[in-house]
Symmetry: C2
Subunit: 125 residues, 2 copies
């Protein structure tokens, strides 16, 4: 079972890699057969190749990502709230998800699920 | 599939019922065969009888519960951050979980999982 500290560190590395648009750093956090369901209810991306393609599409836009509150890490799983801000011309789109990570014994993410609905997106500016 | 508005309303009723120490109002939000895993990693409580006994133990203390940020509701599931404050003599214990609800077609909670670890609890006062 990965430690609380490890799971918190993975979340911090995930946020930093999104801000740096570091695609390989993101993919490296995932187990080779990991699943990414973003948003919840969509068909999961399975495996590094599909996960890389998924994040490459997201990183085609400049993202500003900020953790909101503490990482909740317990028993090999973590949940955390954050915001993703996208500049769209003079306006900004802000999405506020809660993500759920499940980890394997080596501390890699095996399942990621992103919770956000229509009420968790707003436009500013 | 329950609507976003329904899932948001269930979360609000859950918070209100915890603050009111209204045990039957809490149990009524759950499907008869629901599971409650609180915290994540513990043995789930299964069914209304076990769930009622679980919340009765929690409500033996006076709880102050407050939602933190928006409910993330999507595709029959919801996640939300909140705080639970317990007065312990002159001091206060504050726990800051993220809960995950899964709903059935009738809009009742079938699975509840509460994410919080040692770093999500603090003492004040």
């Amino acid at each position: 079972m990965p430690t609380t500290e490890h799971m918190q560190a993975v979340v911090q590395r995930y946020i930093a890699a999104l801000n740096a648009a570091d695609l390989e750093a993101i993919v490296a956090l995932y187990a080779p057969d990991a699943q990414v369901e973003d948003p919840v209810g969509s068909e999961p991306q399975r495996g590094h190749e599909a996960i890389r393609a998924f994040y490459a599409r997201s990183l085609a836009m400049k993202l500003e990502v900020a953790l909101q509150g503490a990482v909740r890490a317990v028993a090999g799983e973590a949940a955390f709230a954050f915001t993703v801000t996208l500049q769209q011309g003079p306006r900004r789109l802000v999405i506020a998800p809660i993500d759920h990570f499940r980890f394997d014994a080596e501390g890699r993410i095996t399942h990621m699920r992103a919770f956000f609905g229509p009420d968790n997106t707003r436009t500013e500016g």
